[in-house]
Point group: C2
Chain length 186, copies 2
DNA sequence: ACGAGTATAGACAGATCGGTCTGTTTAGGT
DNA sequence: ACCTAAACAGACCGATCTGTCTATACTCGT
């Protein structure tokens, strides 16, 4: 069980850092210190290792974000904490998420554009989970309804924009700017 | 000159559809109907073809977006037109940009995460150009200043969020939702 | 202490990768 | 009609890719 986890963690780190197609199986094996046959005892193909890595990232990231959001009073404080959390992440203050290289799920969808592909589907599910996390907090303020939905969408897209701007443009202040905007929307 | 352009256009289409590392030189040559040596007469390596493809996409996309924005009255109308344009794009109504597969520059940065890499740098430049396009329109309303900058950032990140949400989650309404939010901010 | 299950190293296969080289054919300008 | 430049097809190179196979060693419950 530990070998399997080593493989997933190593693969995730390499995929996130260099992209998925750019990383070969042999590189993962060497870095993880695991024999090739062991990999194929646990996974039937590279593709299924990729899927496992995406699922691992989903867990890691979502639980981290939820932890941060839940650490504050529900509603406005929790939502602003999300932008503080992202600020920490993009500026390399969250070691458990690895050095920042953008959103792994966005990156993965760039390599698996077909929406019916298992990798893409997992990424979609992840984003939907995060959206619902935001929506739940918005509803603490606005109650359920179309207005809450709209605001949650705004905050979600703003957050995605932060990640993109931070990664592509290298803007370390993106999250701070977005937090200010978010506050004026709440 | 036409062969060179054929190669760039074919490479761009394939890179955008499948990702960059997933597409081999031979696939590009076959699709473009060009001999291998011809490619290496025009480009010194695959990498320089990749750079040329990114630059081509920058031209294509920016000129298209600018054309749409400039087609409306400067200021609010122009900014809302941007979201209409993105709505057309993500829903496949802009053939000149190829079938929608997210933002090529975001995708490329997922594969070239190192900010000093020529590919990443071109992507950063592209995003900065788009930001300035937005900023110029915002300044028609607010005048130059910190407030305009903040609003431009909000609209830029919102737009990035639309693209991500549309691609990863397959949300065809993302741009419509964002337009509504943008209108309430203007 | 022994047998089963799992890990190891590493050779191997077949395909594909980026890139080079050769020799032939085509196209255009004078 | 001829010369030059460019594009052609495709063999070839060494490296790397995913995945298989073999044969050996370790680990652990009974």
């Amino acid at each position: 069980m530990s070998r399997r986890q080593d493989l997933i963690d190593t693969a995730l780190k390499l995929f996130y850092t260099h992209g998925i197609h750019a990383v070969g199986i042999n590189q993962i094996l060497e870095e993880a210190g695991v024999a090739k046959q062991t990999l194929y005892n646990h996974f039937e193909s590279k593709d299924s290792l990729v899927v496992a890595a995406v699922e691992r990232r989903d867990d890691l990231f979502f639980e981290w974000l939820k932890g941060r959001v839940d650490s504050k009073a529900p509603g406005e404080e929790a939502l602003l904490e999300m932008f503080d959390a992202v600020d920490d992440w993009v500026n390399g203050r969250v070691p458990s998420l690895s050095e920042f290289h953008g959103c792994f799920f966005i990156n993965a969808c760039g390599e698996y554009s077909d929406p019916s592909h298992p990798v893409h589907q997992r990424c979609a599910d992840h984003k939907t989970r995060v959206f619902k996390l935001i929506l739940a907090q918005v509803e603490k303020i606005k109650g359920a309804g179309a207005q809450a939905e709209e605001l949650a969408n705004a905050l979600f897209m703003l957050k995605e924009g932060v990640i993109v701007k931070a990664h592509v443009e290298g803007d370390s202040q993106a999250a701070v700017k977005a937090r200010k905007i978010a506050r004026s929307m709440l």
